[in-house]
Amino acid sequence: MRMDPIGLYEAVRGRSDFGELVEDLLDVALTTYNHHLIDPGEGERLADLYERGALHDADGFKFLCELAMRTEPEKFREVLRRRGLEV
Protein backbone atom coordinates (compact mmCIF):
# COMPACT_ATOMS: atom_id res chain seq x y z
CA MET A 1 0.00 0.00 0.00
CA ARG A 2 1.59 3.31 -1.12
CA MET A 3 0.96 6.46 0.98
CA ASP A 4 2.40 9.75 2.27
CA PRO A 5 3.74 10.07 5.88
CA ILE A 6 0.39 11.26 7.27
CA GLY A 7 -1.45 8.49 5.48
CA LEU A 8 1.23 6.16 6.78
CA TYR A 9 0.63 7.35 10.34
CA GLU A 10 -3.09 6.76 10.04
CA ALA A 11 -2.43 3.31 8.67
CA VAL A 12 0.05 2.17 11.29
CA ARG A 13 -0.81 3.93 14.55
CA GLY A 14 -3.27 1.27 15.61
CA ARG A 15 -1.01 -1.64 14.74
CA SER A 16 0.60 -3.72 17.44
CA ASP A 17 4.03 -3.19 15.87
CA PHE A 18 3.73 0.61 15.70
CA GLY A 19 6.11 1.07 18.63
CA GLU A 20 8.72 -1.14 16.95
CA LEU A 21 8.34 0.82 13.72
CA VAL A 22 9.03 4.08 15.57
CA GLU A 23 12.08 2.51 17.26
CA ASP A 24 13.42 1.26 13.93
CA LEU A 25 12.97 4.66 12.28
CA LEU A 26 14.58 6.40 15.24
CA ASP A 27 17.59 4.12 14.94
CA VAL A 28 17.86 5.00 11.26
CA ALA A 29 18.19 8.67 12.25
CA LEU A 30 20.54 7.89 15.12
CA THR A 31 22.97 5.77 13.15
CA THR A 32 23.05 7.29 9.68
CA TYR A 33 26.40 8.48 8.40
CA ASN A 34 24.46 11.18 6.56
CA HIS A 35 23.70 13.06 9.76
CA HIS A 36 25.06 16.22 8.15
CA LEU A 37 21.70 16.27 6.33
CA ILE A 38 20.01 16.92 9.68
CA ASP A 39 20.70 20.42 10.93
CA PRO A 40 21.32 20.87 14.68
CA GLY A 41 17.92 22.49 15.21
CA GLU A 42 16.19 19.52 13.66
CA GLY A 43 18.30 17.19 15.76
CA GLU A 44 17.26 19.06 18.89
CA ARG A 45 13.64 18.81 17.86
CA LEU A 46 13.99 15.08 17.35
CA ALA A 47 15.62 14.70 20.79
CA ASP A 48 12.81 16.82 22.32
CA LEU A 49 10.17 14.61 20.73
CA TYR A 50 11.99 11.50 21.94
CA GLU A 51 12.30 12.86 25.46
CA ARG A 52 8.60 13.76 25.58
CA GLY A 53 7.54 10.42 24.12
CA ALA A 54 6.00 12.35 21.24
CA LEU A 55 7.47 10.41 18.33
CA HIS A 56 4.31 8.33 18.46
CA ASP A 57 2.15 11.39 17.81
CA ALA A 58 1.16 12.44 14.29
CA ASP A 59 3.53 15.39 14.07
CA GLY A 60 6.40 13.55 15.72
CA PHE A 61 6.01 10.50 13.51
CA LYS A 62 5.80 12.61 10.38
CA PHE A 63 8.97 14.48 11.36
CA LEU A 64 10.78 11.23 12.12
CA CYS A 65 9.77 9.84 8.73
CA GLU A 66 11.02 12.99 7.02
CA LEU A 67 14.45 12.72 8.65
CA ALA A 68 14.78 8.98 8.01
CA MET A 69 13.66 9.39 4.39
CA ARG A 70 16.05 12.29 3.83
CA THR A 71 19.14 10.65 5.32
CA GLU A 72 18.61 7.00 4.44
CA PRO A 73 15.91 6.62 1.78
CA GLU A 74 16.71 2.97 1.10
CA LYS A 75 16.80 1.97 4.77
CA PHE A 76 13.61 3.94 5.37
CA ARG A 77 11.82 2.03 2.62
CA GLU A 78 13.26 -1.26 3.85
CA VAL A 79 11.94 -0.64 7.39
CA LEU A 80 8.50 -0.08 5.89
CA ARG A 81 8.74 -2.95 3.42
CA ARG A 82 9.39 -5.37 6.28
CA ARG A 83 5.93 -4.40 7.51
CA GLY A 84 4.21 -4.51 4.15
CA LEU A 85 4.16 -0.72 3.78
CA GLU A 86 5.27 1.72 1.08
CA VAL A 87 5.53 5.48 0.71
Partner: protein, 328 residues
Amino acid sequence: MRLSIELVPKDPFWRMRVYAVTAERLGYDAVWLSEHHFNRSSVVAATYLALRTRVLRIGMGVLNPYAFSPALMAQFAASLTELAPGRVALSIGAGDPVSLKAMGLGWVDPLRRVEEAVVTVRTLLTGSRTEGHLRLDFRPRGTVPIYLAAQGKRMLELAGKVGDGVLINSANLPFLEESARRARDAATSAGREGFAVEAEVLTSLHEERAKAVKTVKPYVAVVLLGMPQTWRERLGVEEGLLTRLSDAVSKGDWLRIHEVLPDDLALALSVSGNAADVRRSLSELPVRFLDGIVFGGPLGPYPRRAINELWRVSSELFDRGPRGSPAQ
Protein backbone atom coordinates in the same frame (compact mmCIF):
# COMPACT_ATOMS: atom_id res chain seq x y z
CA MET B 1 28.22 -1.72 41.42
CA ARG B 2 28.06 1.60 39.58
CA LEU B 3 27.02 1.23 35.95
CA SER B 4 27.93 3.97 33.51
CA ILE B 5 28.38 4.61 29.82
CA GLU B 6 31.00 6.44 27.84
CA LEU B 7 29.93 8.51 24.85
CA VAL B 8 32.37 9.47 22.14
CA PRO B 9 31.65 12.98 20.83
CA LYS B 10 31.99 11.86 17.22
CA ASP B 11 28.20 12.03 17.20
CA PRO B 12 26.22 15.29 16.96
CA PHE B 13 25.15 16.60 20.36
CA TRP B 14 21.48 15.81 19.80
CA ARG B 15 22.35 12.15 19.39
CA MET B 16 24.38 12.16 22.59
CA ARG B 17 21.39 13.73 24.29
CA VAL B 18 19.14 10.85 23.17
CA TYR B 19 21.69 8.35 24.49
CA ALA B 20 22.22 10.19 27.79
CA VAL B 21 18.51 10.64 28.41
CA THR B 22 18.00 6.95 27.70
CA ALA B 23 20.74 6.06 30.17
CA GLU B 24 19.39 8.41 32.82
CA ARG B 25 15.88 6.99 32.60
CA LEU B 26 17.16 3.45 32.93
CA GLY B 27 19.18 4.22 36.06
CA TYR B 28 22.78 4.40 34.90
CA ASP B 29 25.01 6.38 37.25
CA ALA B 30 27.20 8.39 34.92
CA VAL B 31 28.01 9.34 31.39
CA TRP B 32 31.67 9.91 30.58
CA LEU B 33 32.61 12.04 27.57
CA SER B 34 35.82 10.93 25.93
CA GLU B 35 38.28 13.50 24.61
CA HIS B 36 39.95 13.24 21.21
CA HIS B 37 41.17 16.31 19.40
CA PHE B 38 39.57 15.16 16.13
CA ASN B 39 36.08 14.81 17.66
CA ARG B 40 33.75 17.39 19.15
CA SER B 41 35.04 18.89 22.39
CA SER B 42 34.28 16.70 25.40
CA VAL B 43 34.11 19.83 27.54
CA VAL B 44 31.40 21.38 25.37
CA ALA B 45 29.61 18.02 25.21
CA ALA B 46 29.74 17.75 29.00
CA THR B 47 28.28 21.24 29.33
CA TYR B 48 25.49 20.43 26.92
CA LEU B 49 24.60 17.18 28.66
CA ALA B 50 24.79 18.79 32.10
CA LEU B 51 21.93 21.02 30.94
CA ARG B 52 19.99 18.15 29.38
CA THR B 53 20.09 15.72 32.30
CA ARG B 54 19.01 15.92 35.93
CA VAL B 55 20.63 13.18 37.98
CA LEU B 56 23.24 11.54 35.79
CA ARG B 57 26.81 12.20 36.83
CA ILE B 58 28.75 13.94 34.06
CA GLY B 59 32.30 12.65 33.69
CA MET B 60 34.75 14.89 31.87
CA GLY B 61 37.61 13.29 30.13
CA VAL B 62 40.02 11.77 29.98
CA LEU B 63 41.81 15.13 29.86
CA ASN B 64 45.60 15.15 29.64
CA PRO B 65 47.94 17.77 31.11
CA TYR B 66 49.67 18.46 27.80
CA ALA B 67 46.62 19.66 25.88
CA PHE B 68 44.86 21.09 28.96
CA SER B 69 46.63 22.95 31.70
CA PRO B 70 45.57 21.91 35.23
CA ALA B 71 44.23 25.44 35.77
CA LEU B 72 41.90 25.00 32.80
CA MET B 73 40.82 21.56 33.96
CA ALA B 74 39.87 22.99 37.36
CA GLN B 75 38.10 25.91 35.70
CA PHE B 76 36.09 23.58 33.43
CA ALA B 77 35.11 21.27 36.28
CA ALA B 78 34.19 24.04 38.70
CA SER B 79 32.16 25.88 36.06
CA LEU B 80 30.31 22.70 35.17
CA THR B 81 29.24 22.21 38.78
CA GLU B 82 27.13 25.36 38.52
CA LEU B 83 25.09 23.59 35.85
CA ALA B 84 25.19 20.18 37.51
CA PRO B 85 25.86 20.66 41.23
CA GLY B 86 27.36 17.61 42.88
CA ARG B 87 27.33 15.50 39.76
CA VAL B 88 30.57 16.32 38.01
CA ALA B 89 33.60 14.02 37.86
CA LEU B 90 36.93 14.57 36.17
CA SER B 91 39.33 12.04 34.74
CA ILE B 92 42.97 12.87 34.08
CA GLY B 93 45.38 10.72 32.12
CA ALA B 94 48.68 10.85 30.27
CA GLY B 95 47.13 11.12 26.83
CA ASP B 96 48.05 9.36 23.63
CA PRO B 97 51.57 10.24 22.37
CA VAL B 98 50.55 9.84 18.72
CA SER B 99 47.64 12.27 18.99
CA LEU B 100 49.69 14.71 21.04
CA LYS B 101 52.45 14.64 18.45
CA ALA B 102 49.89 15.41 15.75
CA MET B 103 48.86 18.43 17.82
CA GLY B 104 52.48 19.57 18.02
CA LEU B 105 52.75 18.64 21.68
CA GLY B 106 55.46 16.60 23.37
CA TRP B 107 54.86 13.72 25.74
CA VAL B 108 57.47 14.08 28.44
CA ASP B 109 57.48 12.63 31.94
CA PRO B 110 53.81 11.58 31.97
CA LEU B 111 53.78 10.29 35.54
CA ARG B 112 55.07 13.54 36.96
CA ARG B 113 52.79 15.64 34.75
CA VAL B 114 49.69 13.69 35.71
CA GLU B 115 50.52 13.79 39.41
CA GLU B 116 51.12 17.55 39.27
CA ALA B 117 47.85 18.00 37.42
CA VAL B 118 45.85 16.04 39.99
CA VAL B 119 47.41 17.92 42.90
CA THR B 120 46.90 21.31 41.25
CA VAL B 121 43.31 20.64 40.20
CA ARG B 122 42.40 19.40 43.67
CA THR B 123 44.06 22.41 45.28
CA LEU B 124 42.08 24.80 43.09
CA LEU B 125 38.77 22.95 43.48
CA THR B 126 39.06 23.06 47.25
CA GLY B 127 39.47 26.81 47.20
CA SER B 128 43.19 26.98 47.89
CA ARG B 129 45.98 28.63 45.97
CA THR B 130 48.93 26.83 44.45
CA GLU B 131 52.49 27.84 45.20
CA GLY B 132 52.51 29.46 41.77
CA HIS B 133 49.56 31.66 42.83
CA LEU B 134 46.98 29.90 40.70
CA ARG B 135 43.49 30.24 42.11
CA LEU B 136 39.79 30.08 41.27
CA ASP B 137 37.74 33.09 42.31
CA PHE B 138 34.59 30.99 42.61
CA ARG B 139 33.84 27.77 44.45
CA PRO B 140 32.55 24.60 42.83
CA ARG B 141 29.09 23.38 43.83
CA GLY B 142 29.83 20.04 45.46
CA THR B 143 32.96 17.95 45.36
CA VAL B 144 34.46 16.81 42.09
CA PRO B 145 36.07 13.37 42.33
CA ILE B 146 39.29 13.14 40.34
CA TYR B 147 39.88 9.83 38.58
CA LEU B 148 43.08 8.79 36.89
CA ALA B 149 42.93 6.86 33.64
CA ALA B 150 45.57 4.20 33.99
CA GLN B 151 46.90 1.04 32.40
CA GLY B 152 50.63 0.86 33.21
CA LYS B 153 51.83 -0.32 36.61
CA ARG B 154 53.24 3.00 37.77
CA MET B 155 50.21 4.98 36.63
CA LEU B 156 47.94 2.54 38.47
CA GLU B 157 50.02 3.02 41.62
CA LEU B 158 49.88 6.78 41.16
CA ALA B 159 46.11 6.56 40.85
CA GLY B 160 45.92 4.81 44.21
CA LYS B 161 48.29 7.31 45.74
CA VAL B 162 46.66 10.57 44.62
CA GLY B 163 43.34 9.83 42.92
CA ASP B 164 39.79 9.59 44.19
CA GLY B 165 39.38 6.74 41.76
CA VAL B 166 40.81 5.00 38.75
CA LEU B 167 39.40 4.18 35.34
CA ILE B 168 41.11 1.06 34.07
CA ASN B 169 40.71 0.79 30.33
CA SER B 170 40.64 -2.95 29.83
CA ALA B 171 38.16 -5.73 29.37
CA ASN B 172 40.86 -8.37 29.49
CA LEU B 173 40.30 -10.40 32.62
CA PRO B 174 43.87 -11.07 33.81
CA PHE B 175 44.95 -7.49 33.07
CA LEU B 176 41.89 -6.05 34.73
CA GLU B 177 42.26 -8.05 37.91
CA GLU B 178 45.97 -7.31 38.22
CA SER B 179 45.38 -3.63 37.55
CA ALA B 180 42.50 -3.32 39.98
CA ARG B 181 44.52 -5.03 42.72
CA ARG B 182 47.50 -2.81 42.11
CA ALA B 183 45.53 0.43 42.25
CA ARG B 184 43.51 -0.73 45.26
CA ASP B 185 46.66 -1.77 47.15
CA ALA B 186 48.27 1.58 46.43
CA ALA B 187 45.17 3.41 47.68
CA THR B 188 45.13 1.34 50.86
CA SER B 189 48.81 2.08 51.47
CA ALA B 190 48.14 5.78 50.95
CA GLY B 191 45.13 5.65 53.27
CA ARG B 192 42.77 6.86 50.58
CA GLU B 193 39.39 5.74 51.84
CA GLY B 194 36.54 5.60 49.35
CA PHE B 195 38.92 5.10 46.45
CA ALA B 196 36.83 3.86 43.50
CA VAL B 197 38.04 1.29 41.00
CA GLU B 198 36.04 1.31 37.79
CA ALA B 199 36.65 -0.78 34.68
CA GLU B 200 36.16 0.98 31.40
CA VAL B 201 35.39 -1.82 28.98
CA LEU B 202 35.03 -1.56 25.23
CA THR B 203 31.55 -2.86 24.60
CA SER B 204 29.59 -3.86 21.54
CA LEU B 205 26.25 -5.60 21.81
CA HIS B 206 24.12 -6.82 18.93
CA GLU B 207 21.97 -9.88 18.39
CA GLU B 208 24.31 -10.91 15.58
CA ARG B 209 27.68 -11.61 17.20
CA ALA B 210 29.65 -10.96 14.00
CA LYS B 211 28.18 -7.47 13.68
CA ALA B 212 29.01 -6.70 17.29
CA VAL B 213 32.63 -7.78 16.82
CA LYS B 214 32.98 -5.87 13.57
CA THR B 215 31.71 -2.70 15.23
CA VAL B 216 34.16 -2.89 18.13
CA LYS B 217 37.29 -3.57 16.06
CA PRO B 218 38.35 0.04 15.30
CA TYR B 219 38.10 0.86 19.01
CA VAL B 220 40.10 -2.23 19.95
CA ALA B 221 42.77 -1.24 17.44
CA VAL B 222 43.20 2.18 19.05
CA VAL B 223 43.34 0.68 22.55
CA LEU B 224 45.80 -1.97 21.41
CA LEU B 225 48.16 0.63 19.99
CA GLY B 226 48.17 2.59 23.25
CA MET B 227 48.49 -0.45 25.49
CA PRO B 228 51.60 -1.16 27.59
CA GLN B 229 54.11 -3.22 25.61
CA THR B 230 54.14 -5.90 28.31
CA TRP B 231 50.40 -6.46 27.84
CA ARG B 232 50.77 -6.73 24.08
CA GLU B 233 53.53 -9.28 24.53
CA ARG B 234 51.37 -11.34 26.85
CA LEU B 235 48.59 -11.29 24.27
CA GLY B 236 51.04 -12.50 21.63
CA VAL B 237 50.53 -9.45 19.43
CA GLU B 238 53.15 -9.42 16.67
CA GLU B 239 54.96 -6.29 15.55
CA GLY B 240 53.75 -6.78 11.98
CA LEU B 241 50.14 -6.61 13.11
CA LEU B 242 50.83 -3.46 15.10
CA THR B 243 52.45 -1.82 12.11
CA ARG B 244 49.48 -2.64 9.87
CA LEU B 245 47.00 -1.44 12.49
CA SER B 246 48.95 1.74 13.16
CA ASP B 247 48.95 2.53 9.45
CA ALA B 248 45.22 1.86 9.14
CA VAL B 249 44.34 3.87 12.25
CA SER B 250 46.44 6.86 11.19
CA LYS B 251 44.66 6.85 7.81
CA GLY B 252 41.24 6.26 9.36
CA ASP B 253 40.97 3.16 7.16
CA TRP B 254 38.38 1.27 9.21
CA LEU B 255 37.73 -1.36 6.52
CA ARG B 256 41.39 -2.33 6.66
CA ILE B 257 41.17 -2.68 10.44
CA HIS B 258 38.26 -5.10 10.05
CA GLU B 259 40.44 -7.23 7.77
CA VAL B 260 43.64 -7.04 9.77
CA LEU B 261 42.50 -7.41 13.38
CA PRO B 262 41.67 -11.04 14.28
CA ASP B 263 38.29 -11.64 15.89
CA ASP B 264 39.81 -13.44 18.88
CA LEU B 265 41.96 -10.43 19.72
CA ALA B 266 38.93 -8.13 19.47
CA LEU B 267 37.03 -10.44 21.80
CA ALA B 268 39.96 -10.66 24.25
CA LEU B 269 39.98 -6.89 24.63
CA SER B 270 36.29 -6.11 24.68
CA VAL B 271 32.91 -7.26 25.90
CA SER B 272 31.29 -8.03 22.58
CA GLY B 273 28.62 -10.26 21.17
CA ASN B 274 24.94 -10.90 21.71
CA ALA B 275 23.20 -10.44 25.05
CA ALA B 276 24.15 -13.92 26.24
CA ASP B 277 27.81 -13.37 25.26
CA VAL B 278 27.88 -10.03 27.04
CA ARG B 279 26.25 -11.45 30.14
CA ARG B 280 28.83 -14.23 30.24
CA SER B 281 31.73 -11.78 29.82
CA LEU B 282 30.39 -9.48 32.51
CA SER B 283 29.88 -12.36 34.92
CA GLU B 284 33.58 -13.20 34.55
CA LEU B 285 34.79 -9.71 35.49
CA PRO B 286 36.66 -9.56 38.81
CA VAL B 287 33.76 -7.81 40.50
CA ARG B 288 35.13 -8.13 44.01
CA PHE B 289 37.85 -5.66 43.00
CA LEU B 290 35.51 -3.29 41.19
CA ASP B 291 33.20 -0.47 42.28
CA GLY B 292 31.90 0.22 38.83
CA ILE B 293 31.81 -0.61 35.14
CA VAL B 294 31.86 1.99 32.40
CA PHE B 295 30.56 0.61 29.12
CA GLY B 296 32.75 2.33 26.57
CA GLY B 297 33.56 2.29 22.93
CA PRO B 298 30.87 1.85 20.33
CA LEU B 299 28.35 0.12 22.67
CA GLY B 300 27.00 -1.56 19.54
CA PRO B 301 25.94 -0.90 15.96
CA TYR B 302 22.75 0.59 17.43
CA PRO B 303 23.92 2.43 20.56
CA ARG B 304 20.46 3.31 21.91
CA ARG B 305 19.33 -0.29 21.75
CA ALA B 306 22.66 -1.39 23.22
CA ILE B 307 22.27 1.03 26.16
CA ASN B 308 18.87 -0.50 26.88
CA GLU B 309 20.05 -4.08 26.53
CA LEU B 310 23.25 -3.51 28.52
CA TRP B 311 21.16 -2.14 31.37
CA ARG B 312 18.82 -5.12 31.25
CA VAL B 313 21.71 -7.58 31.35
CA SER B 314 23.97 -5.80 33.84
CA SER B 315 21.33 -4.52 36.27
CA GLU B 316 20.04 -8.06 36.63
CA LEU B 317 23.52 -9.53 36.94
CA PHE B 318 24.65 -7.00 39.53
CA ASP B 319 21.32 -6.76 41.32
CA ARG B 320 20.73 -3.15 40.44
CA GLY B 321 17.20 -1.87 40.84
CA PRO B 322 15.86 1.42 39.52
CA ARG B 323 17.73 4.55 40.57
CA GLY B 324 17.47 5.23 44.28
CA SER B 325 16.32 1.73 45.24
CA PRO B 326 18.06 -0.10 48.10
CA ALA B 327 19.69 -2.55 45.71
CA GLN B 328 21.65 0.31 44.22
